[in-house]
């Protein structure tokens, strides 16, 4: 799955481009992919010493509400809260996409992992064949929240819903992510692909999944 994250500002904000977030407080759900996506969007627009962030709650609806009441000047959101924010007149000053990456224990067998990959691949094909049919999942996660309940399928930008067949993690991407996180002091030490990725299990599972699909 490809995750979409957006840097969002309230309707009355004077921020129109991400460069204008230099020195402005941005609420991030530290420790989560969306927060790191937010940092990367900020870093792409302003000097690192101008990136100004604070800890915000992980609940995107509450994070959005905090931004709207002025707790911070911008935040990073994911669907369906991006759509909620847009519908309320907020502006997306930057959007980005990142891979949702699975972490497994050594107890996972190649056969089980291959079955998981095959099932997800079939789901990806179904979703890509008819994204509108599956938009309801984004609402289902947040049922009972009036802003989400009020969304219709037509409110969603289907281009922000991206799924792709799962594949092995390219070493270059893993290395980049590690070194980027290390540069922010989030992790320490040099990148060691053998310590991070069990290539044997990964290869066996993907080959098994492909062989069964082909057969």
């Amino acid at each position: 799955m490809i995750v979409c994250a957006a840097l969002v500002v309230p309707p009355d904000s004077d921020v129109y481009v991400p460069q204008e977030l230099a020195g402005r407080m941005v609420g991030l759900d530290y420790g989560n992919g969306t927060a790191y996506a937010g940092l990367q969007m900020l870093e792409g627009a302003v000097r690192r010493d101008e990136v100004t962030t604070c800890a915000a709650v992980i609940h995107p609806g509450e994070r959005y509400a905090a931004m709207m009441r002025g707790a911070f000047e911008a935040t990073v959101l994911q669907e369906p809260w991006i759509t909620v924010a847009e519908k309320a007149g907020c502006r997306l000053v930057s959007t980005t996409f990142f891979h949702g990456t699975w972490v497994a224990t050594r107890d996972v067998s190649p056969d089980a992992y291959a079955a998981l990959l095959r099932a997800i691949t079939r789901a990806v094909h179904r979703i890509n064949a008819d994204k509108r049919r599956y938009v309801s999942y984004f609402k289902r996660d947040w049922a009972g929240h009036p802003e989400v309940d009020a969304l219709s399928v037509d409110d969603f930008n289907l281009g922000r819903i991206q799924v792709k067949e799962p594949g092995p993690i390219p070493e270059s991407e893993a290395r980049w992510a590690w070194e980027w996180m290390a540069s922010w002091g989030l992790i320490a030490g040099a990148f060691d692909v053998t310590a991070q990725i069990d290539r044997s299990l990964e290869r066996d599972a993907h080959e098994l999944a492909a062989a069964v699909r082909a057969g």
């Binding site: 709650v57 949702g100 699975w102 067998s109 089980a112 998981l116 997800i120 179904r126 984004f138 799924v163």
Partner: protein, 72 residues
């Protein structure tokens, strides 16, 4: 039938997993996939953390052996 338990996922990051569960695609592949539930003790607020020392709930169920996969 093989079994696997994963940590809870949401549509924004795992629509494909949720669709596969609901439409019986894991079962069709011989995999009985379960989604573990977080307990109150598993949930800490991200506001307790800092940028360089974040608090995350991801991986907690895996750490204590209640799940074998989570999405990071």
């Amino acid at each position: 039938m093989m079994t696997m338990t994963i940590e809870p996922v949401s549509a924004f990051s795992s629509l494909d997993v949720l669709v596969a569960m609901d439409e019986g695609l894991f079962a069709a592949e011989g995999l009985d996939l379960w989604m573990a539930a977080r307990e109150a003790r598993d949930i800490r607020s991200t506001t307790e953390g800092t940028l360089t020392s974040p608090v995350t709930n991801q991986g907690r169920l895996q750490e204590r052996g209640d799940a074998t996969m989570f999405q990071g």
